[in-house]
């Protein structure tokens, strides 16, 4: 990825959710966190697709946990941001804030 390129909407949402959840960032809480923020249900497969893309760009790393009975014996996959992921997220935030700044009536704050 080009240095300091603006991340896509779904990439930013997933990265922020992973950052918020910390050590508990796996599919279920990530999808719930995003659904809560955007106000509608999201496809779990879509989140994994984004995470896979971010993984290929070395912005997140995955770690397989222990299998649990409630998941039919399937293991959780935990995700965390890499240093590069955090840097890219902050860079995108700065780009957006700069773009919003000084806009008459908006002032970079949502109404």
């Amino acid at each position: 990825m080009k240095k300091d390129a603006l991340l896509g909407q779904s990439e930013m949402l997933v990265l922020i959710a992973v950052l918020r959840l910390g050590d508990e960032a796996y599919g279920v809480p990530i999808s719930r966190e995003i659904s809560k923020e955007i106000g509608r249900d999201v496809a779990v497969a879509g989140i994994y697709s984004t995470l896979e893309r971010l993984g290929r760009l070395h912005l997140v790393k995955a770690l397989t946990g222990e299998p649990t009975a409630v998941r039919g014996g399937r293991a959780k996959t935990y995700f965390s941001l890499t240093a590069e992921g955090l840097r890219q997220l902050r860079a995108s935030q700065r780009i957006l804030q700069k773009f919003w700044a000084g806009l008459p009536g908006a002032e970079g704050r949502p109404t």
Binding site: V28, A43, G46, R71, R74, A75
Partner: protein, 218 residues
């Protein structure tokens, strides 16, 4: 009372969603279902997962995916040409040779069943080859390509079924042909899926044996 997720949806995800990611998604869906999500939600997520898997297959392995679908289409039309030639020969045999052997043959169930079985076996053999071939071409997602190939073959056959259904509206005698066509199609696509899955397992087993042999050599 314990709630159970839709079995068909779980089967689809277990067998059609590929790799570790598919299993992680299934685990997440089961966990959320356990926490109170509805069966409709589970189905929506299942369809979305399969759609994402399909898109991923096309994106990551486009050439082999396209080649498998082209092979299905080509084999389907070759089957039609060969079958119509063979059927023509059988009709000739029925109307000339059979009458010499047995003038009352058309009234005997044994002959009719035998000829029906020959026709069915003819189509099923083609569909079996189709199933085996597509999993050899598109090895990345063998089960998904088998299902897609079965859907393509069904879609290609659909004009015949629609013609028979249309005929059924005007003549009741088409009912027998219509039902037989549906049975014929179900059996043939069933054979395609079974042979495809069997072919993919055999390929995976031989791949494992090769890997073990290489490890031993190293």
């Amino acid at each position: 009372m314990k709630r159970y997720p839709p079995r068909v949806a779980v089967w689809c995800l277990t067998h059609l969603a590929c790799g570790d990611r598919g299993q992680a998604i299934l685990g997440d869906l089961l966990e959320r279902f356990e926490e109170g999500e509805t069966r409709a939600w589970f189905w929506r997520q299942t369809l979305a997962t399969l759609a994402y898997g399909f898109a991923r297959g096309v994106r990551d392995h486009g050439p082999t995916f396209a080649a498998a679908l082209i092979a299905t289409t080509v084999l389907f039309f070759v089957m039609r040409i060969v079958n119509s030639y063979v059927t023509g020969k059988i009709i000739d045999f029925q109307s000339h040779g059979m009458l010499e052997l047995d003038p009352q043959w058309s009234q005997r169930w044994g002959w009719r069943i035998a000829l029906t079985i020959i026709g069915q076996l003819q189509t099923m053999s083609w569909f079996a080859v189709m199933g085996w071939l597509v999993t050899r071409i598109h090895r990345a997602q063998p089960r998904l390509i088998v299902v897609v190939s079965a859907l393509v073959a069904t879609a290609l056959h659909l004009p015949v079924t629609i013609r028979l259904a249309h005929g059924l509206l005007t003549h009741r005698r088409f009912l027998e042909y219509f039902i037989w066509d549906l049975v014929h199609l179900c059996l043939a696509t069933g054979v395609l899926v079974v042979c495809g899955i069997w072919g993919s397992r055999a390929a995976a087993a031989s791949q494992r044996t090769d890997d073990i042999s290489k490890e031993k050599l190293n």
